[in-house]
């Protein structure tokens, strides 16, 4: 049953950056885009077992810190080798100063 979980405060993430969020044994990445929106994806790169939280956000792309593969974090689409498999994304909403993600 999907549920909305508070992940962080809106000012916990700089614009054009991300943070790691762990919940119920799963790990996620929460993004703050340059245009002020929030997004969430699975926390680890689909290429290898590397967390994206140390990666670089450039516009709407997240670059994996290990092999420089890139995803569009809005859609999860794999955009640059060596990543070939899309990243899972999760719905996000903000309420006041809080960011929530909907997790399975």
């Amino acid at each position: 049953m999907p549920q909305w979980i508070r992940a962080c405060a809106t000012d916990d993430i700089d614009e054009e950056d991300l943070i790691r969020f762990d919940h119920a044994g799963a790990t996620y990445a929460i993004y703050h885009s340059p245009d002020g929106q929030f997004f969430a994806t699975a926390g680890k790169c689909t290429h290898e077992d590397v967390h994206l939280c140390d990666g670089l956000v450039m516009g709407h792309l997240i670059e994996c810190p290990k092999h420089n593969g890139q995803f569009d974090y809005r859609t999860g689409e794999a955009k640059r080798a060596p990543v070939c498999v899309n990243l899972k994304t999760y719905p996000v909403k903000t309420e006041g100063d809080d960011v929530f993600i909907e997790v399975p």
């Binding site: 950056d17 290429h47 290898e48 077992d49 140390d54 990666g55 670089l56 450039m58 670059e63 810190p65 290990k66 092999h67 420089n68 890139q70 640059r80 080798a81 060596p82 070939c84």
Partner: protein, 361 residues
């Protein structure tokens, strides 16, 4: 430790997977997120400047070489052209393959394709090979880019300064790839979706070399080969000289780049040709940092790293005797001391990884 098997299909690779040595989590120096973001920031300007200088010099040197051909006066210009073709292309292939040299993706891709051709690496295959090199750096049986295997083959190393082993390996592989796609070993690290691209790239390379050979026969001269192909041999020495220092004589089967990679201070010309990859511990620890920010990264984390070698000559004086010792004792490696400010090596973990190997004092 038993004799190493470097085959990607062999027992050492399988054992690395079983023991968790493959695709492991590597040691990283702590760097504040804000600082790391500044270091990772991308920019087109430094790489555009360097690329204009590189290709401008190549065109100029080749033009003078052709104009003076076949006089001996052309030799210095061919030597300069050769180093840019047969060595600078290695670092351009590397940095643009990471996608960090330029901010603009098409610029990275364009320089990557040109550099791959010049350095004689299938651009589709080697992108994946290098990803594996970063995942499993110097893990025996997993890393396809181990330059110095144990025991070291000195004759092969010396021939490498003239590009001979690489060129001998390249052409049959290029034809095989052109006819039937990636080899069985290549298929262990190239995803199936890319196999067609490997074949297409090989066909293009084959066509270019065939056209160059036809022109050389038509002209009854090796001049076309002096421009395309041969500089990969007569200009290879610099990238071999710097490349051997990256990991030579250091540990294998560890997961701390401070143990298996080497940072060497170099002169400005070598750093231009090598695009700052002399900061090699730093590069492996943080591959997202562009070449132009590596000196700043070095300053940021050097308190946690072994002291760098002060020059290319000093680094060779350290590495070469270690390689000679590995002839008699394969498990020998150089273990550099860490400064007092550094986090110590994980002795327990690396002892497990290295079996009963005895590190050098």
């Amino acid at each position: 430790m038993s004799k190493r098997d470097y085959s990607l299909l062999g027992p050492d690779g399988a054992r690395a997977v079983e023991t968790g040595l493959a695709a492991a989590e590597w040691y990283h120096t702590d760097v504040p997120r804000k600082v790391m973001k500044e270091l990772m920031a991308r920019s087109d300007a430094p790489a555009i400047r360097d690329t204009v200088i590189l290709y401008g010099c190549m065109v100029a040197f080749a033009a003078i070489g052709v104009a003076l051909w076949p006089s001996w006066w052309s030799v210095p210009f061919w030597l300069a052209y050769g180093v840019l073709y047969g060595s600078a292309s290695d670092s351009r292939w590397h940095e643009c393959g990471h996608g960090t040299a330029f901010k603009t993706p098409w610029m990275n891709n364009a320089v990557y394709e040109i550099a791959s051709f010049m350095i004689m690496r299938n651009s589709a295959t080697w992108r994946w090979s290098h990803a594996r090199h970063h995942t499993d750096t110097y893990i025996v049986g997993r890393d396809p880019e181990i330059a110095i295997m144990r025991p070291p083959a000195f004759a092969k190393l010396i021939l490498a300064f003239f590009g001979i082993p690489d060129v001998i390996a390249f052409f049959p592989r290029m034809v095989t790839n052109a006819l039937s796609g990636p080899t069985a070993e290549e298929r262990t690290f190239v995803p199936q979706s890319e196999w067609g691209k490997v074949q297409r790239v090989a066909i293009i390379y084959t066509a270019i070399y065939a056209a160059t050979l036809v022109l050389a026969f038509a002209m009854q001269s090796i001049l076309p080969l002096m421009v395309i192909g041969l500089p990969r041999m007569y200009g290879a020495w610099h990238h071999i000289m710097t490349g051997l220092l990256q990991h030579g004589g250091l540990a294998d089967n560890v997961i701390d780049h401070r143990l298996n990679s080497r940072t060497v201070y170099m002169n400005p010309i070598s750093r231009f040709i090598y695009w700052n990859m002399n900061y090699h511990v730093e590069h492996h620890m943080f591959p997202m940092v562009p070449y132009h920010a590596l000196p700043r990264l070095h300053d940021t984390i050097k308190h946690d790293l072994p002291a760098p070698n002060r020059s290319i000559a000093e680094a060779f004086r350290e590495m070469w005797p270690a390689l000679k010792r590995q002839l008699a004792y394969e498990d020998f490696f150089l273990r550099r001391d860490l400064p007092a400010t550094a986090k110590p090596y994980r002795e327990d973990f690396h002892k497990a990884a290295l079996g009963e190997a005895i590190p050098a004092e």
